[in-house]
Every structure is written in structure tokens, then in C-alpha cells.
């Protein structure tokens, strides 16, 4: 090693400094990625801020209208309903996904015969397009025609799903259910990884000290799961607040606009030639996502 270092100092004393602050063309190999990202992400984002202050319809001239789009948004009852829909869907999904994912992971934690097959089966729904998943559940659940309706009828039970598609609270419950059903496996995998990272000695020590199962869970397991909780909560919040596909295929935002999410609203306003307004809604959605993400990141921060 001595000889090698000595050689380096002779050959290229400046170029081969070990602190990584060397300046040469290699430094700029991140440029292509940066250019692509700036062109198709950062530039549209900034352009969007500017567009959100205009009444542009996507074709003609844009007039500066100040914050008019934003005030109009907060006075629009459809938009306010969409905010409520988005928040309820996200809260329901994020809470249930984490509770159920954690429960699945705890059930799966100890080895048993067929464990990896079980893991594959539970994860399977998460790889399918949520749009297609919505259609599959539509075939199952459609009132009066769906597979489940006929199955119940054949079994002779009078239990019927009723007209869930035309009743607001039930449509929302079905949407949350389908979303949780589809992604519980993904949340589970992350929690399983988190559980595997907890040293067994820690939990055994707590058991020897006489801690009850619930105490062991809240006192030892849960605090050590914090990194996994953080990943799951943050990804679930981002994913469910920008929900699009599953609602499009299952309810198309109906009945009326009762289950329309903000993402769908943005798309429809854009197609309705209200380009400036739809970018303003996107800016609002940005903050609706940012605030809970920052809060949950702070709450799950690891204490040293």
C-alpha cells in the first residue's frame, strides 16, 4: 500500500486526491440526466406556476389573472368535494394499508412451510395495473349483475351488495377496499424487511424481563420498525393522494362527482380547455401532498 500511494503522488499529485473533490470531465457525467430532468420535470413545474396565474385555454392568448384561478377553486363546490374525496381516500388507504400490511407481516414473520409461496400470492395483486384491477373488481361487484351478486343468489342468501355504485359512502368504501386489497402485499414486504432487521436478542431480552406480548410490541418492535413505517407511510400518502387509475375504471368519479379525485379533476379541466385553471389545481394538489408528507417524515424521525 505504501508503495502504491507513493507512486500516485509522483504520477498525478493533484488529479488523484482521495477526497473525491477532483475536478475533471467525469464530474459532469451527471449532466445528461440533469438536462433530461430539467427539460421534462423542472421546466414544466416552473412553467406550471406561471400558467396557473393565467386564464389560458391551451390554444389562444393567455391573460394574466393573478390568483383568480385559486379563488375560483376554493369557491367551486365540485372542487371542494374532490378535495374531501381525495383526503378521505388517502387517509383511509394509508391507515388501513399500514395496519393490514403490518398485521400480515407479523403473521408471516415466523417461518412455516410454504412461506415464500404465500408471500408471492399476497404480493401478486400489486404488480397488476390498478386500472385493470379496477375493472376486475367491477366485474365482481357490479350491483345486480356482478359475479358476487350471482354467487350470493346461488348460495341462497339474501345478502346483496345493494346499489353501492350509486351511494356515496359505499362507493368510497369499495374504492378504499380495492386499493388496500391490491397494495397490502407491498406494505407487508417492507414491514417484513423491517422486522428481519430487528435483532432477535432484543425481543428475547424483553421477554426474559417479563414484558407482556403487547408491551414487547409497543416497547421494542414498534420503535425499531420506525424506518419501515416511514417508507410505507410516505409512499402510501403520495400514492393515494395522487390516485387516478383505480377510480377511473371502477367508478369514473361517480355517482356524479362524488368519488372524483383531484388528479382526475386536473385531467378533466385540462381536456375542458381550462389549462390555466388545471395547473392551478395541480399547484394546490402539490401542497396537499407536501404537507402530510413533511409531517409524517417529522413524526417518524429516528431519535438518537
Amino acid at each position: 500500500m505504501q508503495g502504491k500511494d507513493y507512486l500516485k503522488n509522483i504520477v498525478a499529485p493533484v488529479k488523484l486526491r482521495r477526497n473525491g473533490r477532483k475536478r475533471d470531465l467525469t464530474e459532469f457525467m451527471s449532466l445528461p440526466a440533469l438536462l433530461l430532468f430539467c427539460t421534462f420535470f423542472v421546466y414544466p413545474l416552473l412553467k406550471g406556476v406561471q400558467m396557473s396565474l393565467t386564464d389560458w385555454d391551451g390554444m389562444g392568448e393567455a391573460t394574466f389573472v393573478g390568483l383568480a384561478n385559486f379563488t375560483r377553486f376554493f369557491q367551486d363546490s365540485r372542487a371542494m368535494g374532490d378535495i374531501r374525496t381525495t383526503l378521505i381516500f388517502a387517509a383511509g388507504s394509508a391507515i388501513l394499508l399500514n395496519l393490514i400490511g403490518l398485521l400480515y407481516a407479523l403473521l408471516m414473520e415466523k417461518p412455516f412451510h410454504g412461506r415464500s409461496l404465500t408471500r408471492v400470492i399476497i404480493y401478486l395483486p400489486a404488480i397488476i395495473s390498478p386500472l385493470i384491477m379496477g375493472y376486475i373488481w367491477y366485474f365482481l361487484l357490479q350491483p345486480g349483475r356482478g359475479f358476487l351478486y350471482h354467487a350470493m343468489e346461488q348460495l341462497g342468501t339474501s345478502f346483496q351488495l345493494g346499489s353501492w355504485m350509486s351511494n356515496y359512502p359505499t362507493t368510497m368504501m369499495v374504492l378504499i377496499f380495492v386499493n388496500v386489497w391490491q397494495y397490502a402485499g407491498m406494505t407487508m414486504i417492507i414491514y417484513l424487511a423491517g422486522l428481519q432487521n430487528i435483532p432477535t436478542e432484543l425481543r428475547e431480552a424483553a421477554m426474559i424481563d417479563g414484558a407482556a406480548p403487547w408491551q414487547r410490541f409497543t416497547g421494542v418492535t414498534l420503535p425499531l420498525l420506525l424506518p419501515a413505517i416511514r417508507i410505507n407511510v410516505v409512499t402510501n400518502i403520495i400514492g393515494s393522494l395522487s390516485v387516478f387509475d383505480v377510480i377511473m375504471s371502477l367508478t369514473e368519479g361517480g355517482p356524479g362527482y362524488a368519488t372524483e379525485s383531484l388528479s382526475i379533476y386536473i385531467m378533466r379541466m385540462c381536456y375542458g380547455s381550462r389549462t390555466g385553471y388545471s395547473t392551478a389545481v395541480a399547484m394546490i394538489l402539490f401542497f396537499i401532498i407536501l404537507i402530510p408528507v413533511l409531517i409524517s417524515m417529522r413524526l417518524t424521525r429516528e431519535k438518537d
Binding site: L34, L36, M51, K110, T118, V120, A193, M267
Partner: protein
């Protein structure tokens, strides 16, 4: 820790029920896709289809799902290829030359990781129209690559940082520089990182709908979700045998790839979670 036998049996039973719940929708889809168009559910055992395999030929012919699959394939491969190349280069530069400029690039990309694509899709649409990228596969590849770039740069930077410096310093001493060091020395050892990037992003690109609905409207350029939603809206809820046969055709490649690589897939996800 020993486990009570009764408790273990209950645990296995609950897990079995969960598995059944995960499988049932797929099974029902399969039954529906194999039912003759004339079949009404009241007759016979509805859990056994009438095996009308002709539905598949019919669905294949009417839905253009084959073309959509090809488009989705081109978009997925193009996106993954471009992102692996540019993201790998960026990861190498950021890990090995931590200058102020590269620190800024890294912070920018990671900071934007939390912004979902829908936020800037509308202004992006006007940009795409200006450069004639609407209804083109290359346009969609650029959009999808941009959305996966933060994840790629994050994975590759973390991975290169863990590689011994001697690896590329030795090559630099031999007179190999810049892109050559990356391409000949670093890129070949990036395989595990590339695999975990593909695992985390591949299905998402294949299944993309929120961007496809804006950028891939023409019939020849639709990807799988976009083609299916257009095809299904056409029937307005009728002809379930055709719709479900199309859905089966659309998900079969994804399921096969997942089952073939499930071990690497779950391991990759687990590792990603531990490091992230």
C-alpha cells in the same frame, strides 16, 4: 421463541384465507373470460366456465391488445435502458466527484422524488405538443424516463459509494478516463443495482396510465392500460366475456415475468427497503 401449536394452526389458517382472498378475483376473471357470450349465471355451477376459448381469439382480434403490448414493451425497454444509462452515469459522477455541482444535482433529484407526475403533466403537455412528441413512443419514453430518474440516481449513487475506490482509481492510473472508466469498469459491476432499479420501476412503467391518457391517445400508439380503457368504454359495460378475455391477455405477461423472477423480485424489494 416457541410457538403454541394451536396458535400456529390458527395463524396458518388466517394466512390461507388471505391467500384465497388474493386469488379469487383472478379466478373469477378467468371464469368470466372462458364463459360463452350467451351464458347467464343462473344456470349450472357458476365457478366452472363453459370453456369458450374462442373468446380469446375474438378479444385478440377486436381489442388490438397485441399492438398495445408491443407499444408497452417498447416504452418499458426504452425507458429502463435510457434511465439505467443516464442514471448510472450520474450515480457514478455523484458518488466519485462530490463537488458542489454534483451535490446540487443529487439534492434536486431526490427532492423531486416526492412529487407525483400528475403535478406537472398539464404544462408538460404543452411542451410535448411544441416538440411534436404527443402520440409518439419516444416522447412517452422521455416522460417515463424523467419520472424514474430520481429513483435510478438514488439507487446507483448509493451503490457506487459502496464500491472500493481502488477499482476506478486503478483504471484512471492506467490512462482510462471519464466515460470509459464508467462503461468498462463500473457499469459491469452495477448489475445488482440495475436489477433492483428494474424491479422497483419496471411494472410501474408498463402499467402507466396517468401519463398515457395524455400523451398516447392515437389508436396506434396506445399502451396496455390506455388501450384497455378505450376498448372497455366502447362496450359501456356489455360483453364481459370479451372484456375479461382482453384483461387476461393483458395481465398474463406481467404475471409470468413476476413468477419467473419472484425470488429476485422480493429480495430486491426487501433490500431496497432496508437501504432506503
Amino acid at each position: 421463541m416457541k410457538e403454541n401449536k394451536v396458535f400456529k394452526a390458527m395463524r396458518i389458517l388466517v394466512l390461507a384465507l388471505i391467500c384465497v382472498m388474493c386469488i379469487i378475483p383472478f379466478y373469477v376473471l378467468l371464469v368470466l373470460s372462458l364463459n360463452a357470450p350467451s351464458r347467464v349465471f343462473y344456470e349450472g355451477n357458476m365457478f366452472v366456465p363453459t370453456f369458450a376459448f374462442a373468446n380469446y381469439a375474438d378479444a385478440w382480434g377486436k381489442s388490438r391488445v397485441g399492438l398495445a403490448m408491443l407499444n408497452s414493451g417498447v416504452i418499458t425497454f426504452g425507458t429502463l435502458g435510457l434511465t439505467i444509462l443516464l442514471g448510472g452515469m450520474a450515480g457514478y459522477a455523484i458518488a466519485r466527484r462530490s463537488t458542489t455541482y454534483n451535490k446540487l444535482v443529487f439534492s434536486l433529484l431526490i427532492g423531486c422524488m416526492m412529487i407525483p407526475g400528475i403535478i406537472n403533466t398539464v404544462p408538460l403537455y404543452t411542451l410535448m405538443r411544441q416538440i411534436n412528441a404527443i402520440n409518439t413512443l419516444w416522447g412517452m419514453i422521455l416522460v417515463c424516463s424523467t419520472l424514474s430518474m430520481p429513483s435510478a440516481v438514488f439507487i446507483f449513487t448509493t451503490f457506487v459509494r459502496a464500491l472500493p475506490r481502488e477499482l476506478d482509481e486503478a483504471a484512471e492510473m492506467d490512462g482510462c478516463t471519464g466515460f470509459n472508466v464508467f462503461w468498462r469498469i463500473i457499469f459491469p459491476v452495477l448489475k445488482p443495482a440495475t436489477a433492483s432499479f428494474v424491479i422497483l420501476n419496471g411494472f410501474g412503467v408498463w402499467n402507466n396510465y396517468a401519463q398515457a391518457v395524455f400523451f398516447l391517445q392515437s389508436r396506434d400508439k396506445q399502451n396496455i392500460p390506455q388501450a384497455l380503457s378505450v376498448f372497455f368504454q366502447q362496450f359501456g359495460g356489455a360483453k364481459w366475456h370479451l372484456m375479461s378475455a382482453t384483461a387476461v391477455i393483458a395481465i398474463v405477461p406481467v404475471v409470468i415475468i413476476f413468477l419467473l423472477f419472484q425470488r429476485q423480485f422480493i429480495e430486491g424489494l426487501t433490500e431496497g427497503a432496508v437501504k432506503g
